[in-house]
């Protein structure tokens, strides 16, 4: 039997990008919060500028709980599911410890894809088999929460639309924001200047994208030092706005937050009325029951769905909040593959850059261009960035110029190690009827619980965006003086991703969605769900800021409507 702990107001399962943010409004409201985290505390000393450690040694993911329960993957039910790696890590702060920290708001179109598409192009343009719905609210509803997170976490960037006042130095396609970013954008570099100039020559509107990275002293944290190990590395000066260095310490300051590390939650407990009563977790070799009036599930898309599927009870025989059969449905991995690779005839000076120091083009994203004569909806944000480290540089593509070894190859990399660049193109990705997450019938974690099985693939809409956006990207590189350009294939199976969406989708219709417009279960009213798993489509940019804005909104709703939520 689990050891019973004393009751708390709220348990948050997972103290990462979403759970860490949710802790702040709850503890500020005076609620007692227990944050259960599968990993431990890390410090800036743990993030050495060491490419081998971060890459081949896969530190710190290699020792994590997540790695032991990586999902299996198959494109269709006809394929054999194979276990891959897990893209996320466990720690206080979660993967926000080492993410790229690009911190976008979704564009208004992403919230209203069905309605906006029908109005502009007629009824027949939603791709066949897609289960997409409008979000239960518009961009305007989420705007105040984007704003709160931007200031609490510390986002650097250039606004393009402040209360309708447009500034072409920023993204002119973004929704209106109530005020400027709290910090100016990260600095430019010779490469971002080169690409920015080329984009303007094409008549496009380049801008420096937003990042949860300090560009100046902010809230006691020093500015980014541009040392070049941001990608797959945490920050040695706390310039990266991981929740472990921003909102979690603030929540701890209230005295209302208890963080329990190395706690592996194995079950969300419900009573016969379908209300959540707390969670069971293992720490060391002991099992505990933590009673709570409300539970916020904030692990990750895969783990959120899996824990609910494993939490069976009399009220929920098919898994918690799954009486409508929607748990695991509407799953997506963001289409961010199919890059374009370019070779230049001059050094790009990218040794000391970072993924968030780059130039964005939004002309070909979302519905920012006319699709009347195209065979897809949505689009892609084009992004080029500075970031290069020596092992990766030496493994560069040789564009067919030489073989992959020997003296000719050596001469090639000596000349070209700092002359290539790979784009990052994030595409509108939609949910489809037979893309889903369930429990693998064979593969289990070391505790004996089945891991998640992903059955999902991209469809024509994503592949057509990929081809279209690659052409735009090629045009941009050539304008900037690239001497060779190479395109990668369109992708098929949706692999386990750092941008995973769906599985506990948010919507008004309880027959097709797991959580309501506030992020609480349609079936278990005091269970809130945080993370990309509530999002019904991806947008064409990184999800974390949206996940955090939604988390803040759900937590604030719980604090403001405590009696009605917990009953």
């Amino acid at each position: 039997m689990p050891r019973n702990l004393s009751r708390t107001d709220v348990v948050i399962v997972g103290m990462g990008a979403a759970g860490g943010v949710a802790a702040l409004p709850l503890t500020n409201a005076g609620l007692k919060v227990v944050g259960l985290e599968a990993g431990g505390w890390l410090s800036p000393r743990d993030f050495a500028p060491d490419e081998l450690r971060n890459g081949a040694r896969n530190w710190p993911q290699s020792v994590q709980k997540a790695a032991s329960e990586a999902p299996t993957l198959r494109a269709t039910t006809a394929d054999q599911a194979v276990q891959g790696g897990h893209p996320m890590m466990n720690a206080v702060g979660g993967t926000s410890m080492h993410y790229w920290a690009q911190s976008w708001r979704l564009n208004p179109w992403d919230f209203q894809v069905v309605t906006a598409t029908r109005e502009r192009y007629g009824a027949n343009r939603i791709p066949a088999g897609s289960t997409i719905e409008d979000w239960p609210f518009t961009y305007t509803e989420l705007e105040p929460y984007y704003d709160k997170v931007e200031y609490a976490v510390g986002i650097s960037g250039q606004a393009g639309n402040v209360q309708g006042n447009m500034n072409p130095a920023g993204n002119i396609f973004e929704g209106a924001r109530s005020r400027e970013y709290p910090m100016r954008p990260l600095r430019a570099s010779p490469f971002t200047d080169l690409m920015g100039t080329a984009a303007r020559n094409l008549g496009w509107n380049p801008f420096q994208g937003p990042a949860a990275i300090t560009s100046e002293l902010y809230d006691g944290r020093p500015p980014c030092q541009y040392h070049g190990f941001c990608n797959r590395g945490g920050c040695h000066v706390q310039a990266k706005g991981s929740t472990a260095f921003t909102v979690i310490p603030k929540a701890a300051d209230t005295g209302n937050l208890e963080v329990v590390t190395f706690a592996r939650v194995i079950n969300i407990v419900t009573d016969n009325d379908g209300k959540v009563t707390g969670v069971d977790y293992i720490r060391g070799n002991e099992t505990f029951f933590q009673p709570a009036d409300a539970v916020l599930l904030a692990s990750y898309a895969y783990e959120n769905v899996r824990l609910l599927q494993l939490s069976k009870s009399r009220a929920f025989p098919n898994g918690l909040s799954n009486n409508a059969g929607q748990l695991g449905r509407h799953y997506m991995s963001h289409h961010q593959g199919s890059p374009v690779l370019a070779l230049f005839d001059r050094d790009l000076h990218n040794w000391y850059g970072l993924p968030a120091q780059g130039v964005a083009i939004d002309e070909w994203a979302d519905d920012n261009f006319d699709h009347a004569d195209l065979d897809f909806i949505g689009g892609a944000n084009l992004w080029v960035h500075t970031d290069r480290k020596p092992m990766g540089a030496a493994k560069m593509n040789t564009f067919g110029a030489v073989s992959s070894w020997g003296s000719d190859w050596k001469a090639f990399i000596m000349k070209n190690a700092d002359r290539s660049n790979m784009s990052y193109i994030q595409k509108t990705t939609l949910p489809y009827e037979d893309n889903y997450l369930d429990l693998d019938p064979v593969v289990k974690d070391p505790l004996g619980f089945p891991v998640t099985r992903i059955t999902a693939r991209y469809r024509d809409n994503e592949k057509r965006i990929a081809a279209f956006s690659q052409d735009k990207m090629e045009q941009w590189y050539l304008e900037a003086g690239a001497i060779k350009v190479s395109k990668f294939g369109p992708g098929n199976a949706m692999g386990a991703s750092t941008h995973a969406y769906g599985g506990t989708r948010m919507g008004l219709n309880s027959d097709t969605n797991v959580v309501n417009e506030w992020g609480f279960s349609h079936e278990a009213p005091n269970l809130g769900i945080l993370g990309g798993s509530v999002m019904g489509n991806s947008g064409s940019r990184n999800p974390t800021l949206t996940v955090q804005a939604l988390a803040w909104r759900t937590a604030e709703y719980l604090a403001s409507n405590w009696r009605s939520v917990v009953g």
Binding site: G220, E258, S404, K410, M414
Partner: protein, 256 residues
């Protein structure tokens, strides 16, 4: 169920004692940083990112080589692999290559740590390379002339040979990748000796901060020849918390 919990326990309990479960901001910052974030001003940052050891290449080469063990590879395997690495990234008119970087030393050690799963494939693959060399050239791979060695490797790369795990092409790609790792990794891991790999591609070196002017100089920025672990904050005993510069330097470089 729960067969991994006993292993977890010691570690989690130890780490748990390092951290208050309900940390105040002050304690929390003490726990997460060698310098509390609140205390970090821009001035403190420039202090922080200044290298805390002068550029240098460590002890004399001879004293290291004399005391070095083969940790995983047999003597013949190491000789075979040395010859392969020399073909892949040759020492030539353009300067030193994988041999001078000591890529084989790196690979040997990596097979006892993060590449341990590849150990079997190396055993099988290096043996198959020598079998083929003897069949076609009458001697072990490392004894062949360079042209014959290159021809052998092309056959391995093109997946033409039997006796490899999982395939001869797969073996080639693995060895190529590890040879690059060993030539361009942080010198802490036993390769990239004297920074020959980083100099080869004009990587100006590990810095804890890069100014706009550093970036503008590109490859003209003078290489600083520093390992990540020349910066004491990443070593076992952080100099600015514990110990003396002398004790720190002992723990700081290649432990071979």
């Amino acid at each position: 169920m729960a067969d991994n919990n006993n292993n977890d326990k010691t570690q989690s309990e130890q780490q748990a004692t390092d951290q208050p479960s309900n940390p105040s901001r002050r304690n929390l910052l003490k726990g997460v940083g060698f310098v509390g974030a609140a205390a970090l001003s821009t001035a403190a940052t420039s202090n922080l990112i200044a290298a805390d050891s002068p550029p240098g290449t460590g002890p004399a080469a001879d004293s290291i080589v004399a005391r070095e063990a083969l940790e995983v590879l047999t003597a013949l395997e190491a000789e075979t692999l040395e010859a392969i690495c020399d073909c892949l990234i040759p020492s030539d008119d353009n300067g030193p290559g994988a041999r001078e970087a000591r890529a084989v030393h790196y690979i040997d050690r990596s097979l006892a740590s993060h590449n341990s799963e590849a150990r079997h494939n190396y055993m099988i693959g290096l043996s198959a390379v020598n079998d083929y060399a003897r069949q076609t050239g009458g001697m072990a791979f490392h004894q062949l002339g360079r042209d014959q060695q290159n021809a052998t490797l092309r056959a391995v790369q093109n997946n033409n040979l039997d006796g490899f795990a999982p395939s001869s092409g797969g073996f080639f790609n693995m060895v190529r990748s590890h040879t690059i790792d060993g030539t361009f990794c942080d010198p802490y891991y036993g390769g990239n000796r004297d920074f020959v790999g980083w100099d080869m591609i004009r990587y100006p070196g590990i810095r804890l901060g890069a100014s706009e002017s550093d970036v503008a100089q590109g490859a003209d920025l003078a290489p600083n020849h520093q390992s990540a672990y020349d910066h004491s904050t990443y070593t076992k005993m952080a100099q600015n918390m514990l110990g003396t510069p002398e004790s720190r330097r002992k723990g700081g470089s290649d432990h071979a």
